[in-house]
């Protein structure tokens, strides 16, 4: 295993792979800097370009992009008070006040350095988890994997949005869309309406591009505002960066705790970075000797928010690699990359393709190192980018949407799928129906059906009573029942207060 670990580094350092990683880092850098462009959206838009790549090259490109957005999103959060990514919101609370009082350099130095070290802690956790999840994964069979996909899907459905029912309904809708095409078991054309294009099913690429990218572009077109907003003012004094670096080393234990919180939350399918950042921030405040400074420019708040950002991405990779269950929206898109490159997440990633798994660890380490180095060099001119007017980006974004959809199969029909998915995505946002369970339903539908039929073929209906499967049925029931119980208790509590 150690040999594979270091040979994976060699594969990542090959010129073509390294170049693709650097390109991904560059794109992720820009995406993270610019508020309004989401990391997961960009990942979806870049997916089609991985078709002709080898697996390690593809993941170096995509992961290099994904792991950097969290780091660079903190830059605008600190300089302008506008998070470049939703997961950088906690950095605003203390980074921006520090900037306003002339400590921009110190805040940026701390947040960037803590982001990098947080990523390394997460990468280490990912590498160390591999030997432990191997025997676990090898002990699981098709019945367990089927239930795990259902557990993951249900978990995300319950956490996305405020309505459990909506999340579950959208998950079922996604599973229905995944059923379109020639049935792999019996060769029956399902829901194809006589269209040859649909025999292969709905392609995931244009669907993902439209579902997330279409809504983002339309939002920019509707708001027509400068991305950073007119009120944002940048303090370009970048002194004190070195002080920020030293602050991170001085608070090394806080850094490690915040990173481990990120990894732990990231492992749980459905728990996003938005959850992880606030838990880590809250923990930092609770354990600080000066909790009253939080929210007013506490360096500890900056360090905690920076560290958790990237660590949670490594944690989210653990269930993806081990079980094929995405832990976040980003990893849901990365799961698509697995399918494109012909890799099956699960036992294969921990046995025959262990080199790909370890290459991901090295990409996380190297990509963050490169990104932070680049950030420190380009900090001053980068601040000006955030004032780019939204409408200026629109032609470029429409071009990327179109190319991203078309290049999947060189088919105009994919552009229509993208537009349809955009309409679904926009409707979901406008009327508060969650998109993520729908996407995961589409991604996991084929996998779930395959495992279901394998389970039936191997064990008959007795697969439903296997010990681990029974445990997972219990988990599934808990996931569904707990939110209902909480809602009922909340309603009775509100009624009791009214009657008092």
């Amino acid at each position: 295993m150690l040999t594979t670990f270091f040979s994976a580094l060699g594969q990542v350092l090959e010129p073509s792979t390294l170049l693709l990683m650097l390109i991904g880092v560059g794109i992720g850098f820009l995406v993270g800097i610019l508020p309004g462009l989401g990391g997961a959206v960009t990942l979806a838009l870049m997916l089609p370009f991985t078709f002709s790549m080898e697996p390690i090259e593809a993941f170096a490109f995509l992961l290099g992009m994904a792991v950097v957005t969290g780091t660079t999103g903190d830059i605008t959060a600190t300089l302008f008070g506008i998070p470049g990514e939703p997961t950088s919101a906690a950095s605003v609370l203390d980074g921006y006040p520090m900037t306003r009082r002339g400590e921009a350099g110190r805040a940026l130095g701390a947040v960037l350095f803590s982001s990098t070290l947080g990523a390394w802690v997460g990468a280490l956790a990912l590498a160390l988890a591999v030997p432990f999840i191997r025997p676990l994964v090898l002990a699981l069979g098709p019945p367990e994997f089927f239930l795990l996909t259902m557990v993951g899907l249900t978990f995300i459905a319950t956490l996305s949005g405020r309505s459990l029912l909506k999340g579950l309904i959208m998950a079922c809708f996604g599973l229905l869309v995944a059923a379109v095409g020639i049935d792999p078991q019996a060769g029956v054309a399902r829901y194809t309406f006589g269209q040859l294009y649909l025999w292969d099913g709905i392609d995931i690429i244009p669907l993902v591009v439209g579902l997330f990218g279409g809504a983002e572009v339309l939002q920019i077109m509707l708001s027509r505002a400068a991305i950073a907003g007119e009120h944002a003012k940048a303090d370009t004094g970048l002194h004190g960066v070195k002080q920020g670096l030293l602050d991170v080393l001085r608070h090394w234990w806080l850094l490690i705790r915040s990173s481990l919180i990120g990894v732990g939350i990231g492992v749980v399918p459905g728990m996003g970075g938005s959850v992880a950042q606030w838990i880590a921030y809250g923990h930092a405040q609770q354990t600080s000797k000066h909790p009253e400074e939080f929210g007013k420019g506490s360096i500890e708040g900056v360090i905690a928010a920076g560290a958790v950002n990237n660590a949670k991405e490594s944690g989210a990779l653990i269930p993806v690699i081990g079980f094929g269950i995405p832990g976040s929206v980003t990893t849901a898109v990365l799961l698509t990359a697995f399918l494109i490159t012909g890799i099956n997440p699960g036992p294969e990633m921990l046995t025959t393709r262990l080199d790909v798994t370890f290459s991901m660890v090295w990409v996380i380490v190297l990509a963050n190192l490169v990104a932070v180095a680049l950030a420190f060099v380009l900090l001053r001119p980068l601040t000006k980018l955030t004032f780019v007017s939204g409408p200026v980006l629109v032609p470029f974004l429409l071009l990327v949407l179109t190319l991203g959809s078309f290049t999947a199969n060189n088919s105009y029909a994919d552009i229509l799928v993208m537009m349809g998915a955009s309409a679904v995505g926009i409707a979901c946002i406008r009327w508060n129906w969650p998109r993520v369970p729908f996407l995961l339903g589409v991604v996991l539908g084929g996998i779930a059906e395959r495992y279901l039929f394998l389970s039936y073929s191997l064990f008959g209906w007795s697969w439903m009573t296997r010990p681990i499967v029974l445990g997972l049925w219990g988990v599934l029931a808990l996931i569904v029942i707990l939110p209902v119980v909480k809602a009922i208790r909340r309603r009775f509590g509100a009624k009791a207060k009214e009657s008092v």
Partner: protein, 171 residues
């Protein structure tokens, strides 16, 4: 149902619920024409989906019909802020009809243009026109942007990556 949920209920939300229920019902009936193996998974999934959709529909209707002493919460910003609604939801919820038509019109223009003349032509033309009329850019800036967009498209995708680009029916 929470206060915010009640505030967000609208005929369109109800319509989406009904549409999904109808879709699940249709998919269930359609799957009944296939063999057992082909229909098992889709029918199981849409069966669950239909049941959940129906349940939600009944809950929503009950909420609409139920008498409540609480004043109906307004749909203004304070609720959005308390519940942490992000910017994209706010923009979609507060854009006027003319803004929607304007944005969708431009998108339609781009894709109709794509269908007619292909990507290599529509990209610079759309860029120039959009930047001039919407972004209010100076003509030379818009022209430069359009030129760079065309150049990058040709260089990156035509020459380096050699990817086939969408062709138009006229060009």
């Amino acid at each position: 149902m929470s206060t915010v949920e009640r505030a967000r209920l609208s005929p369109t939300d109800l319509g989406i619920n009904v549409a999904l229920l109808a879709t699940f019902a249709w998919a269930f009936v359609e799957a009944g024409q296939w063999s057992f193996r082909a229909s098992l998974f889709p029918q199981a999934v849409v069966g669950v989906g239909a049941a959940l959709s129906l349940l939600r529909l009944l809950l929503v209707l009950r909420t609409f019909l139920a008498k409540s002493d609480e004043p109906p919460p307004s749909s203004s910003a304070p609720i959005a802020e308390e519940e942490g609604v992000d910017d994209i939801e706010y923009v979609f919820g507060h854009a006027t009809m003319s803004m929607w038509l304007h944005a969708l019109g431009w998108i339609a223009a781009f894709y109709v243009g794509l269908w007619l003349v292909g990507l290599f032509v529509v990209t610079p033309v759309f860029s120039f026109v959009y930047l001039k009329l919407v972004a209010k850019m100076r003509w030379w800036g818009a022209l430069l942007y359009a030129g760079i967009a065309w150049g990058l498209l040709h260089l990156a995708f035509g020459v380096l990556l050699r990817l086939r680009m969408p062709q138009g029916i006229l060009w």
